[in-house]
């Protein structure tokens, strides 16, 4: 088998070799605790400061103290929302969307059980929000708005810059889960009204186990973890120094490759989309195609199931992911596809290809060649598929007794 092809970069990325190399000394001779008063600690403290400045640069943040390191995107999301609820205890409402990452959605589900009112903004068939619906629920009863920058499944952007301004005008904190956006598109937080932003190291060729919450200076904040005075008392616990250093390098690399991500990687993604859709009937790309991350492509293959596709792709060394129920072991297909109103027969067959700067044109061409026979093979097994197309009126021709 030829070399494997990794097209699942929205799940995680390979840690850049430069980041790994930079981290290694911090496991060995540079083992000091940055809080210590001696030279062991001081050197490490300086390195953390430099790494923080690098991440600050990637975000376009005004101050390096606006960055609070966390264990990852999930912790940053939880910290942001729970902080807002503690800071504004009299406000019992939260605005979010129906297509957020589970780190936000499941937390909001739990808060709902505890008595909070959750406004989940709906999306249309392309995954777009209706800002009139947002405006209608934005009030002084809302403790925080949490809206993702780019969707992890389709790559679709939400107009978070505009939405943050609307929140500020209503005197409401605005948080964005930008885990998929950071490192892929240029950010300029100092000129935005965004109060809080979550990011994750391993989505941008940094190490796992590190993330950060950007907290605009002056935004009201209550820590999730209390203890030592690390991160200016806003996130207690000894710093994950090697990972912070690795994330610093990854941020620097992301800045250097930002143009490439939005030109060469985008062109590869577009080539993949055009190649597959030209060769496979009854397939369509989901999301807002003109307004999405440069690296993400989500295709719904009708009348076949995603996990089966992934297994056959994997056999040829191609790694992608699916929004089908089976891949997660749940009963429902992806909440993002359901929210967009994608029918079940297509939602179960959604495959996400997410590229990175490490992918090549030769790889993309191999995938374009591999996909059509796999889909054809599975459709041959499908009761919804006839000789060379879907059976006439598939939903009626095959109407099983449903469990």
């Amino acid at each position: 088998m030829s070399a494997p092809i990794y097209l699942d970069n929205n799940a995680t990325t390979r840690c850049a070799p430069e980041a790994v190399a930079a981290m290694l000394p911090f496991f060995t001779e540079q083992f000091g605790n940055p809080s210590s008063m001696h030279s062991f600690g001081a050197k490490v403290g300086h390195a953390v400061k430099a790494a923080r400045a690098s991440l600050q640069g990637l975000l376009g943040a005004e101050q390096d103290s606006e960055i609070i390191y966390t264990a990852g995107g999930t912790e940053a999301d939880n910290t942001a929302i729970l902080s807002a609820l503690k800071a504004y205890p009299e406000r019992k409402e939260i605005i979010t969307t129906s297509v957020e990452h589970h780190a936000v959605l499941h937390l909001c589900g739990q808060l709902e059980k505890e008595g909070y009112t959750i406004h989940r903004l709906k999306v249309d068939g392309k995954g777009r929000l209706d800002l009139a619906e947002y405006r209608a629920v934005l009030s002084s009863k809302v403790a925080v708005v949490s809206v993702m920058w780019a969707n992890n499944e389709t790559g679709t952007y939400f107009p978070v810059v505009k939405m943050a301004e609307m929140a500020r005008a209503a005197d409401v904190l605005f948080h964005t889960d930008a885990v998929q956006a950071v490192g892929k598109i240029p950010l300029d937080l100092r000129h935005s009204a965004i109060d809080m932003l979550s990011l994750s190291g391993h989505k941008l060729h940094g190490p796992k186990g590190i993330g950060a919450l950007y907290l605009r200076r002056g935004a009201r904040f209550r820590p999730l973890l209390r203890g030592g005075g690390q991160e200016r008392g806003r996130r207690a616990g000894t710093e994950n120094v090697p990972a912070i250093i690795g994330l610093g390098v990854a941020a620097q690399l992301a800045i250097e490759h930002m143009t490439e991500e939005n030109s060469r990687v985008r062109a590869l993604r577009d080539r993949l989309q055009a190649g597959i859709l030209a060769a496979v009937p009854n397939a369509f790309a989901t999301g807002d195609l003109d307004n999405r991350l440069p690296n993400t492509l989500n295709i719904a293959f009708e009348y076949v199931e995603g996990e089966a596709i992934l297994m056959l792709l994997n056999k040829q060394g191609i790694a992608a992911s699916s929004g089908s129920a089976c891949t997660s072991g749940s009963l429902e297909p992806s909440h993002v596809m359901r929210a967009m109103g994608i029918p079940y027969t297509a939602a179960h067959g959604t495959i996400r290809f997410s590229l990175s700067r490490e992918n090549t044109e030769a790889e993309i061409d191999r995938v374009i060649a591999a996909v059509p026979p796999i889909i054809a093979r599975l459709r041959k097994l499908s009761p919804y598929w006839g000789e060379d197309g879907p059976v006439t009126d598939p939903e009626k021709a095959f109407a099983p007794a449903y469990a």
Binding site: E305, G306, E307, K315, S324, C326, S330, T345, L381, A401
Partner: protein
């Protein structure tokens, strides 16, 4: 990636008996498109001997759904319809060298397709009586619907009891939060609130007085009655002799197919309430003249 057995993978990569069967005279179609599985099973049955001469399938589903369909057709070919009906979903899973707990429903779908196809051949109506909920206990593959129904049928009020009745939560215990949520919901329906900790019927060290024993037995009966009455049945305490508790099943409960299950549940509660092993035995009451 799922931890599929080599047999599952082999049947997925090289499915047996896939595609339409032209001379099929029995067709079963089952599935749940919302969970992403649907299966059409086609059989060619010899009318004289009722032997399954050939079988094929078409499946919309994941790797283990396709493998389960393939295995099913291999298992039933050459069997008579009556023999085929004895095939359980566990047989399908065993044939495949096991399935992950999240995927056991694929084997259930195979068995249901078989029942549906045979009903179709015999001109009978087949109805799916198996509702499926979200998987709660991954160790024992127990879903929310089964847990909810068991709590309701037996008036359960603690995680420990749910584990005793369904096995759910009996191993790694990470699903206890989920079980507690279902308990709170069902208990709220019957006007109670869930309280963590000891179930109300504690095991009491030392011997109970006869009066206390009878009281507790009557308590268990009283708690079981509302559910039975709802199903137009009833239960009555007849006598207690040592470790045997005699009860009379009345109305719809008398002769009901579920009688053994109902009594088993009541016996379990008696054991918990009394802190000793007892037997609940049904007796027929003499009909008044």
């Amino acid at each position: 990636m799922w931890d599929y057995s080599d047999t599952v993978k082999e049947h997925f990569y090289n499915p047996r008996n896939a595609g339409p069967l032209a001379e099929a005279n029995a067709v079963g179609e089952v599935g749940s498109i919302s969970c992403g599985d649907a299966l059409r099973l086609m059989l060619k049955v010899d009318p004289g001997s009722e032997t399954i001469l050939d079988a094929s399938f078409q499946t919309f589903g994941c790797g283990s759904a396709i493998a389960s369909s393939s295995a099913l057709t291999e298992i039933i070919k050459g069997r008579t319809l009556d023999e085929a009906l004895t095939v359980t979903n566990q047989d399908i899973a065993d044939y495949l060298g096991g399935l992950p707990p999240e995927k056991m429903h694929c084997s259930v779908m195979g068995r249901e397709a078989l029942q549906s196809a045979i009903a179709n051949y015999r001109g009978e109506d087949w109805k799916d009586d198996h509702a499926e909920g979200a998987l709660v206990c991954k160790c024992f593959a127990i879903d929310s619907v089964l847990i909810e129904e068991t709590i309701r049928a037996n008036n359960l009020c603690s995680v420990e009891q749910v584990t005793n009745y369904t096995k759910a939560g009996g191993s790694c215990s990470s699903c206890h939060e989920g079980i507690e949520e279902i308990l709170a919901k069902v208990m709220a329906e019957r006007g109670e609130s869930f309280a963590p900790g000891q179930p109300p019927a504690r095991k009491t060290p030392g011997k109970l007085s006869t009066l206390e024993r009878i009281r507790r037995i009557e308590d268990v009966i009283a708690r079981a009655r509302p559910n039975l009455l709802r199903d137009h049945g009833d239960i009555e305490l007849v006598d207690v002799e040592g470790k045997t508790i005699y009860v009379a099943m009345k109305g719809a409960c008398s002769g009901c197919q579920m009688e053994a299950l109902t009594l088993g549940g009541i016996q379990q509660q008696m054991v918990e309430a009394l802190g000793e092993l007892v037997k609940v035995v049904p007796v027929k009451l003499a009909q008044p003249a």
